[in-house]
Symmetry: C2
Subunit: 148 residues, 2 copies
DNA sequence: TTACATGCAAAGCATTTGCAGATAA
DNA sequence: TTATCTGCAAATGCTTTGCATGTAA
């Protein structure tokens, strides 16, 4: 006999995120849990701070923009999400934890992932005093409507 | 017998840029000529709008920030330079007309070029309705001082 | 109990824009 | 002469911050 509805999955991305939050020392507050749930329970996403803000609203809850921004930054520092600066004044946050790069469709403001295995980067050797922080590959795409 | 000082080189990047400007229909105004000279006469550069603004000042001339920004945008549209969005609120403009990507040293706000031949991008096939606009690869590097 | 977090409104910052006066053709 | 350009100052848009209030442990 099994329960009809699974209400708790200790191995979900959401639960893993909560554990990371707890281990890191920052508090798993109500706001952080709500944001983590929205970010990680819906599969891979590429959200802006604004979208996330409205996702919270859709569930008849309210988290201030300041908190949304601060939390996104904290989650990025914890390695839970990845910030992708697609344009001046436009950052998207990505919940795909597998190594990958981004295909950015400018007209739609949307992003699609490119698995890392399709990219071969032969970077000039980096001096010992420097550390690799992050590699961003953004392939920008435009629909053909506008030929600028 | 040769002249001691070469005062005019019709094949310089600067002269080529002027021709592109003229052909495009926009006027080769004093400001645009000054900016083109600074951008293209000093070899490959990676400048911000602000640096360019101060470069003009150093020569005891004055071009308003608005014009610097507008001109950089026009030059980008003409393909004379390439805009690299290295961070939120930070664009650098690059005068290297050879195909290449960028190594970005965050702490110093500086950029180094990576020749394209060192990069092998196997991008998933792009639907016919889309056109490739631009590929940005930014390898972000930090000095070891700060281990965040 | 108290260190940490939230939310508001105000500030910050690079960039863009409106518009009156200036300038290239 | 006139369409285009410049420069100022104000506006913009995203993001960050200061600080009073709220809350998790």
């Amino acid at each position: 006999m099994t329960t009809a509805i699974k209400v708790y999955n200790p191995f979900s991305l959401y639960e893993k995120a909560l554990k990371t939050i707890e281990k890191s020392g920052i508090r798993p507050t109500k706001q952080r849990r709500i944001l983590a749930k929205i970010l990680f329970d819906k599969g891979n996403r590429h959200v802006s701070a604004e979208e996330l803000f409205y996702d919270v609203k859709k569930e008849d809850r309210k988290i201030s923009m300041a908190t949304v921004y601060n939390t996104l930054k904290q989650f990025t520092t914890l390695g839970l999400i990845k910030e992708v600066v697609v344009d001046q004044n436009k950052s998207l946050y990505c919940t795909n934890n597998k190594s990958h790069y981004h295909l950015y469709i400018e007209d739609e403001g949307k992003i699609v992932d490119i698995p890392t295995k399709n990219v071969n980067l032969d970077i000039p050797s980096i001096p010992a005093c420097l550390q690799l922080h992050n590699i961003d590959i953004i392939v920008r795409i435009r629909t053909l409507k506008d030929k600028n």
